[in-house]
């Protein structure tokens, strides 16, 4: 699951389980570089799930992991690519 680090990739491998996500926005608002946003589509439960964007409005993903820490639904993970 852990990818090798490449300069072309964001620092973290951020992965969202869109069916699990409830679109609560918490990861969105804690992500300082704004690398996350809600998608306009609905998932099966009727929520707009979150998606990760390579580069946010305010910079790159810092691999801070806060999106993982605040998610109440275990729907998002952030794996630092620099961690072996």
């Amino acid at each position: 699951m852990v990818a090798t680090v490449s300069d072309a990739l964001p620092r973290a491998h951020v992965s969202v389980d869109a069916e699990r996500c409830k679109g609560c926005d918490l990861c969105v608002v804690v992500c300082a570089p704004r690398n996350l946003r809600l998608r306009p589509e609905f998932n099966r439960a009727g929520y707009h799930p979150v998606e990760f964007r390579y580069q946010g409005d305010r910079g790159e993903c810092t691999a801070c992991g806060l999106c993982y820490w605040v998610c109440p639904d275990f729907a998002i993970t952030s794996v630092d690519r620099r961690v072996p």
């Binding site: 699951m1 699990r20 409830k22 679109g23 918490l26 804690v30 806060l66 993982y68 820490w69 605040v70």
Partner: protein, 265 residues
């Protein structure tokens, strides 16, 4: 702050989570806490000796998500059930999640007595200032003036009393060894659309400390100031702002007692 920031694990891969989707409302701290418990249990490698006591409230299904042994307690009685388990099996790591209605209203006697006896158990209180599971009635912790289904004109402290501060009440007893209050929701920062995530990080640390205290023979209690946007009838983010504005001053976060000095380590 926890060293585990960016902790490289995935839901479901945390063996202490079952992976079942939660029934919690979107953005609710009950969900966040579940994962924090899982990581703290794993940090202690305690999954096989952990026993969760789930109380009646939104946390009643916690055992569906936490992949540990579990016993469900009648409403309010979790501290007694936990003490019963621990007295019979001191080798187990016994912990429970309670709501504010559960712990501070109907179950106050059980909480106070377990605390006074210093039972070596860990209680995690989700204080969302309302009865979540039953649809938004006044809780003992409801702030003055808050509209709930049983206080349609706002809580009137003249007839219903002032909000109860469970942590302070326990502080009046000699029994507890560890008393900590954490503000768990994402909290507004200087910047209008940015929230901080300290609560989750502090929260996991507090849980780990609580477990440490339990295994050293002390009673540990962590109160998580939380939200319930569904029953507060506001948006998710507004609920976090309200919690920061109204609840945090009413229930100030902090370390209230640390008899064994586990936070100093």
């Amino acid at each position: 702050m926890s060293a585990a920031v960016g902790y490289a694990t995935k839901w479901g891969a945390l063996p202490t989570l079952t992976g079942a989707p939660t029934h919690y409302c979107a953005g609710c701290e009950h969900g966040t806490l579940t994962r924090l418990l899982a990581s703290a249990i794993e940090a202690r490698q305690a999954r096989e000796r952990a026993v969760l006591v789930s109380s009646v409230g939104c946390s009643v299904l916690a055992h569906e998500y936490l992949n540990v042994d579990a016993v469900q307690a009648p409403h309010g009685r979790a501290p007694a059930v936990m003490a019963g388990i621990k007295r019979a099996r001191p080798d187990l790591l016994v912990f429970g999640v309670q709501g504010d209605g559960d712990a501070v209203s109907i179950g106050l006697l059980e909480l106070v007595n377990a605390a006074n006896r210093g039972e070596p158990i860990s209680i995690f209180l989700v204080n969302n200032a309302i009865y979540g599971m039953t649809g938004g009635q006044m809780a003992p912790t409801t702030p003055a003036g808050m509209v709930t289904t049983t206080t349609p004109n706002g809580r009137d402290v003249a007839t219903t009393g002032r909000p109860f501060d469970a942590t302070r009440l326990l502080l009046g007893l000699d029994g507890p060894a560890y008393l900590r209050r954490v503000f768990l929701p994402v909290a507004p920062t200087g910047s209008a659309d940015v929230f901080n995530a300290r609560g989750a990080l502090d929260g996991e640390a507090a849980i780990r400390h609580a477990f440490e205290v339990q295994e050293r023979g002390g009673f540990s209690f962590v109160e998580f100031v939380s939200t319930c946007w569904v029953n507060w009838k506001v948006s998710i983010l507004e609920s976090k702002r309200y919690a920061a504005r109204v609840l945090a001053p009413l229930f100030p976060p902090g370390l209230y007692r640390d008899r064994f000095g586990v936070e100093a380590r």
